[in-house]
């Protein structure tokens, strides 16, 4: 069981001593029980930090934002590291970012938090469970989540309202860390790995297509999946420019010859090309934090695409995303025994 006081103390201490130039963590937002990302720079702000089952955000995204801001300001380094609260999946994302040389190990101070026996809540499952009752607070309690509502305290077994990715998670413990809170329950398994994927894959090709066609049709191309993903850090996406890809130095030739792979219309064909290409670009990099899935306003099960890649990588190539900083990348490495029977 994690004591929130310890996390706050650590943050306060680091900021006071100048050991971190910022602490990225969670605080209570202005809308109901939900936590939101917090960016602390002063020791006295440390008491804002929270740790509860609504801390779903993968904050490593903000390490990416930080690097982009530094680069935009023409700086290579911000001096002291940024300290960040990271769950198991988040810490693996940080490892992938370092594996890809996005920043160095010394640029970040990982304050790991173990999800122990549970994980984060799935808002959709919870809404169904609470059936219209609004919760104002959420807390961990062993294998349960405890919600404060107008109708009093509601104790719900965590596994009934947990996100699928947490149920299937085998490593809820941030292996890569500078400091860690909570018990290491690596290997704990509430549901089989890839259980949701397996359920979907059990359908025939025709049924899978029918389902995906509906999902792809619903996509409104708000790009929340891309925007919320720490791995989608490219300055220029196949879909469009996203950050500062055109500078005053970009030549007219470069701009004019930029290929428009996908039209802006949210039509099925374009949505497929976008989502499928994104899944490919995340193969071996996605650490299943599930943020794309959570952020999607129209419930496209984006996580399944990424999961499919993760499962193939694991079963065929023995590859685990975010396992080690010095490890190879999935698509820039190979083994002699890679499957080749499909090739004529």
């Amino acid at each position: 069981m994690i004591n929130l006081k310890d996390i706050r103390e650590t943050a306060r201490d680091m900021l006071a001593k100048g050991e971190a130039r910022a602490v990225i963590g969670y605080r209570r937002g202005s809308r109901g029980m939900l936590a939101e990302p917090a960016f602390l720079t002063k020791p006295e702000e440390a008491d804002e930090l929270v740790w509860d089952p609504t801390c779903f955000h993968n904050l490593s995204l903000y390490l990416v934002h930080d690097r982009k801001h530094l680069a935009h300001a023409g700086k290579n380094s911000g001096g002291a590291p940024v300290a960040i609260i990271a769950k198991g999946c988040d810490a693996r994302s940080i490892v992938v970012l370092m594996q890809e040389h996005y920043f160095k190990r010394e640029d970040v101070y990982i304050i790991g938090v173990s999800c122990e026996g549970t994980g984060v809540v799935d808002e959709r499952k919870l809404a169904t469970h609470l059936n219209g009752v609004q919760a104002s607070n959420a807390a961990f309690d062993g294998d349960d989540f405890v919600f404060t509502t107008a109708e009093g305290e509601k104790r719900i077994p965590a596994r009934e309202v947990m996100a699928d990715r947490c149920l299937e998670c085998r490593s809820p413990y941030p292996k890569e860390h500078n400091l860690v809170f909570g018990e290491d329950k690596t290997g704990r398994q509430l549901e089989a790995p890839f259980a949701a994927l397996d359920r979907f894959e059990a359908q025939g090709a025709g049924e899978r297509w029918e389902n995906w066609a509906r999902h792809f049709d619903r996509c409104i191309r708000c790009f929340a999946c891309r925007s919320v993903c720490p791995m989608c850090y490219c300055d220029e996406c196949v879909v469009d420019s996203i950050t500062f890809p055109v500078t005053t130095e970009t030549t007219a030739d470069e701009k004019a010859s930029r290929i428009r792979w996908i039209e802006r219309s949210a039509a099925r064909s374009e949505n497929i090309t976008y989502l499928m290409t994104r899944a490919m670009h995340l193969a071996g990099r996605c650490t299943d934090c599930g943020e794309c899935d959570r952020a999607c306003p129209v419930n496209v099960p984006i996580r399944l695409l990424n999961n499919k890649m993760e499962k193939e990588a694991r079963e065929q190539f023995g590859f685990e995303p975010g396992a080690s900083i010095g490890g190879p990348s999935l698509v820039a490495s190979f083994l002699d025994k890679d499957p080749g029977e499909f090739i004529r």
Partner: protein, 144 residues
């Protein structure tokens, strides 16, 4: 599809310039008969074939996509085809996963000396594509 014009599958073939592209040329100069359904796109190496190319070919109406390069061990860039083997495996699985017919995507190794094999690969591919009919799952639709 009208009765007068039987369905002819359109294939976009990404051919490595060192092997398969030369293989297709050999098939041509050797006057080997094979279907003319493939539009070849020569690439420096199969390792350079981005999944985006494959999605884009389907998006623009390809009924089938072929990626063909040098045999394992023969890559001009030493390991490009090893990397391609992995990447193409993944996109193949992803296409299958969303319910695209397995036979829409194909990979082959065809060396510069294998004109006959190239002809066979295309013949087989066309034969496998024909019963599937036009690919309309990933294709950009006409505007309603």
């Amino acid at each position: 599809m009208s009765d007068q014009q039987p369905y002819e599958p359109k294939i976009v073939a990404f051919l490595c310039k060192w092997c398969s592209s030369a293989g297709s040329d050999l098939a041509g100069v050797s006057r080997i008969q094979y279907p003319a359904n493939a539009t070849p796109i020569t690439v420096p190496c199969t390792g350079a074939v981005s999944p985006m190319y494959i999605m884009s070919a389907f998006n623009k109406g390809a009924d089938g996509v072929l990626v063909s390069g040098c045999h394992i061990g023969d890559c001009h860039y030493l390991e490009g085809n090893y990397l391609a083997r992995r990447k193409m495996y993944l996109i193949m699985k992803l296409l299958e996963f969303i319910g695209v017919e397995q036979n829409r995507f194909r990979m082959s190794w065809v060396s510069a000396a294998e004109g006959a094999k190239f002809a066979q690969v295309i013949t087989d591919f066309v034969g496998d594509l024909r019963p599937l009919g036009p690919q309309d799952k990933l294709k950009r639709a006409e505007i309603k």
